[in-house]
Structures are given as C-alpha cells and as structure tokens.
Symmetry: C2
Subunit: 230 residues, 2 copies
DNA sequence: GTATGATTCAAACGAACGTTTGAACAGGAT
DNA sequence: ATCCTGTTCAAACGTTCGTTTGAATCATAC
C-alpha cells in the first residue's frame, strides 16, 4: 500500500454496499442476512467480513458513505444562504429549504441510488437498534447544531424548546413522507406513484405552514383541545 | 428448590403480551427472541406457541388488542363531532383533533402501558416486515377512510390528492413525535423529559399549521384555492 | 520464472433462533 | 378415586445466523 489510496478490490466493496442498501431498505437490518447480501451482490459469503469486518461495520459504512455527502451538502446550502444574508438572520423558510431541500434532492436522484438510501434513512430514524441510532446521532450532531442555531437566530422571540419541537416534527413529516410511500398506498389503494420532484413543493409547503403556525396557547395558560364525546 | 419461583398468579397470556410490547418497542420484532419475551414475562418458553400459535401471531395480537380500542375511540370522537355539527361539514381542526387527540391521549396513559404501545406503533408505521404492514393496513382501513371522507367534505376545494398527502405528513409528524423522543434527545442533549400533556398542544398547532398552509404553486396553477380556517 | 501480498472461495464452526414434543401438573365434574 | 381438559415444563428438534478457516487464485514486483 504505497501510494494506492483506500482503493481495494475491483468493485466488490461497492457491489456489497449497493446490495446491502437495497436489502436493508426492503427488509430491515435484522431480517437481511449476509447470505442475502452476498447472493444479490454476486460475491462470496466471506467477502463482507473480509472487506468490512462484520455485519455491523457494513451497516455503518452503508450510512457513512451517503451521510457524509448529504450533510456536507446541507452545510454548504446553509452557508450559501448565510453568505447572501451577510450577517443578518436568515428567513426560516431559507433555513428549512436548505436542510430539507438537500434531502429531497437526494431523494430525486434515481441514478446513483440516492433515492433508495433516503428511504432507508427515513426508516432508520426510528430504528430500535441502539448502535445504529448512536451512530446516526454522531453523524448528525454537527449539522443539526448548525441549523438549530440558525433557527434560533431567525426566530429570537420563539422559545428555543418550541423550535426544537417543531424541527423534530418537521423531521418526522419528511422521514415519513420519504420512507412511507408504501404506507400511503395502504391508506389509499388508488394512488398513482409519484416522482419525488412533485413531493418537494408539497412537503415544503406543509413544513413551513407547521413551522409558522401560531404557538400553542398553553404558553399562556393550559388549555385542552375540546373533544368532549360525552 | 433453592428459590421459590414466584408462582405466577394472573393470566399468562397478558403477561406475555405486556412483556412482548415492551421488548418489541425497545429492540424491534426481529431482534426480540421468544426466550427474551418468556424470560421477562416469567413463563415457560413454550407458552407463547401454546397461547398464540407462533411469534407472528403474537405480534399481531400485541397490536390488535390496542388498535381495536384506539380506532374505536377515534371513530367515536369523529362521530361526536359530526353529531354536534348536525350534517354540516366539520372544521378541519375538529377532524384533526379527533384523530390525533385520541392518539396522544393514549400516549399520555402511563398506567396501562398505552404510552409504550404508542411508541411501538409509531415505529411500526415504517416497519419493513411485510406481514406486519399488511396487518396494520387492514386494521386502519376503515378509520382512515372515514377521516379522509370527513376531510374531503371539510375542504371541498382542495384536491383530494393534496389532502391525502397532508394527512400522510401529519401521520409522519405524529409518529415521529411519539416514537422518536430519544432521537430528539440525541439532537439536543439538554432537553427536559417529555410530558405528553404538553406534547399535545404543540403537535396540534404544528399539524394544523401544515394542513392549512397555502398549496404549492404547482397545484395553484390549475385550480383556484380557497383557504378555510378554523 | 518465483515470491509476496491481496483477494476469493467452499466448507465448516458454534451459537441462537422459532418451534415441537411428551410427560408432569392442576382442578373440577362425574 | 377417576377421568378429562387445560396448562406448564424441561428438553430437544432442525434451521439459519454471523463468523472463521485454510487453501486456491490473482496481481504485481523482483
């Protein structure tokens, strides 16, 4: 390994990662066996442990190779907006568009498997597996902090806790929108599949509407939604 | 002889269901073994297959016993509103409150395990397992249809497809809000723990804001939009 | 050519999985 | 006491899991 970089085999690594990405999305981590992965990738069973060390390490690598790029693009989009603003606080819509627009752009990318990964990622936000969630949290720590700070500055009069909640809600709506297209079909069988290009404006309208909604009156005084069914 | 194994008094069935509910929520379906379930429940390994037939049947029963009640309450809440309206279309806020308010009421129920189940349910909306999703779709078919019809009548000028999407987004925000509290903590370590009573008004404001947001321009091009407000 | 290190391969490993078995135990009703 | 029915129990079933092994193959430098 003199000057050669991490370039290893011909394309065994990449084929394993691509196969695993699809299978993890379709069946989940636990239900996807090494034999399924290596079978679909057309490589030997031992190849995964040789190239990645273990199944868990393979899972991490599946996420890392995409998340690195995704979060880099997110930060770039945010910094581009900040450069335009020149020190002034950004408009919330710009911040939201920077974060979620990058996500949806990858969702629309069908040629490089980005769409598959985004669906996998959406499912993984609620993944029970502890080490997967721990890994995701580390990967997200910086970018989330940066966006939250931008939102704090953009909405100085809104309690930070409230902004945190709404960001949480927005993440949920996006994850579900991307990952749960099948679930949507289950709700309404007569539903023609859509290209993610049309999902983007729909989701963005919804997210901004939720973000700008009036604060709950609970801030002033506890109030319960009237739902008396007698 | 060494230890007096606490002779279990109450129902073995219920003990298995309660243990399985917690373990499924913590580890997921595939990662939760029969031995974990029976061990936590304090029953024999064979008890699950004796009482439920199989692990899959146990999963279904875990959901069925709670979903039956949940969806019954949802329909009751909707019908109560419809009775008050007396034939007139309901306001969207009432419909949303009927559907999601019941969910959050169960989330706030800590004494009967309802909160545990709601977190499990939130995670399961994006569950890859095919038979689980099929089962969920059947359980939800009627109640979703009823609520969608109510929304169609409440918003006659909004394209049905658009309402479907926004309902989808709302489901995502709620599921994530309930199931992903840990994820929220990962984003912001300094976060005082959740009190579902306070989650309710927060989420409701967000959902209604998203539901009433202006439609994306792409849709507006072809249709005139009227904004109904509550 | 041969040597050397990286990669692939078939085969096997022990562990854990869901499920099944047949005996043991319980408590009424006859 | 006996039978019956429902339930619990320890043990084992066959399968599949992730991982490991050691030899075969390939590529490149000597």
């Amino acid at each position: 390994m003199s000057e050669a970089t991490a370039k290893q085999g011909p394309d065994t690594r990449a084929r394993i990662l691509d196969a695993a990405e699809v299978l993890f999305m379709t069946h989940g981590f636990e239900a996807t066996s090494m034999r399924m992965i290596t079978g679909q990738a057309g490589v030997n069973l031992a190849a995964v442990n040789y190239h990645f060390g273990s199944k868990d390490a393979l899972i991490q690598e599946v996420f890392r190779r995409r998340l690195t790029e995704l979060n880099r693009d997110r930060l770039a989009a945010l910094e581009a907006e900040e450069a335009v603003a020149g020190g002034a606080p950004l408009k919330p819509s710009k911040i939201v568009a920077a974060f979620f627009g990058v996500s949806l752009k990858m969702t629309a990318d069908t040629t490089h498997g980005g769409a598959t990964f985004m669906r996998l990622l959406g499912r993984t936000y609620t993944e029970p597996n502890e080490f997967v969630r721990q890994f995701l949290a580390e990967e997200y720590a910086e970018v989330v902090q940066r966006f939250m700070d931008a939102l704090y500055r953009a909405l100085p009069d809104v309690p930070r806790e409230e902004i945190l909640w709404r960001f949480h809600f927005m993440m949920g709506a996006m994850s579900y929108a991307i990952a749960g297209t099948d679930a949507l079909k289950l709700f309404a069988g007569d539903f023609d599949d859509e290209d993610p290009t049309r999902l983007m404006p729909r989701l963005m309208s919804f997210l901004l509407g939720g973000l700008r909604a009036p604060l709950p009156e609970e801030v002033i005084e506890s109030r319960t939604i009237r739902r008396d069914a007698a």
